[in-house]
Symmetry: C2
Subunit: 129 residues, 2 copies
């Protein structure tokens, strides 16, 4: 894919990818992509990441069914970060059941977190393994 020639992957062949809810604008998660996952994401319009822990392609939602339908793919000025706008099927991007992975906000004293009440599902009912 000619497009990918301009993308700057890091020394591990990866690029950070931010997923943003296309309807609400909420930032849902950040994960990593390699060349293959970015190409598949652009082609299939489904978000595909690279799992650094499992060292394999991570087709988001492959187990839970909670896929991310990709509405747009953008890159930043340095061509080293990807931004997806997605329709998050199932309503939650996070494996914890929270709508967004960013459910912990630093409190005003800067010494702890406030946890958001945005749980959409119980992970026990979604992930069988």
């Amino acid at each position: 894919m000619k497009l990918l020639e301009s993308i700057k992957f890091d020394s591990n062949g990866l690029i950070p990818a931010i997923a943003q809810d296309d309807a609400t604008g909420d930032v849902l998660m950040m994960a990593w992509m390699n060349r293959e996952s970015l190409e598949e994401t652009v082609t299939t319009r489904r978000a595909v990441y690279w799992s650094r822990s499992r060292k394999k392609l991570w087709r988001k939602g492959e187990e839970s069914g909670h896929v991310q339908e990709v509405k747009s793919v953008s890159i930043d000025c340095d061509a080293d970060v990807v931004l997806l706008r997605v329709n998050q099927i199932g309503g939650a991007a996070c494996h914890t059941g929270h709508r967004s992975c960013f459910f912990r906000e630093v409190n005003s004293q800067g010494d702890g977190f406030i946890e958001k009440n945005d749980i959409v599902f119980d992970p026990k009912n979604v992930y069988k393994k």
Copy 2:
């Protein structure tokens, strides 16, 4: 800062930090923070990153005056990504003058980019060096 004990910095001592416009929800940029820059960000409520190219603290807006007033700091489920909601002074986060660094969207054929028309300023008038 006790809070930072739970944050997972990578092998280079860095963590990705996403800046999102607090008013519009637009994702403005992604940069990197080390422990010192995150602590200063939380304490001063101004975004401070770590410049990997210049290898020093990057107090966003220190040259242009276009600082980012920090409205909230969140971390993700794995505690290895930071999300800031900011008020972007000057209206543009990108050194190109674009409002967001993500001003290039992959076109529907997947073989090129559509550039957004969101230029706020002429960099020549902002950066003297």
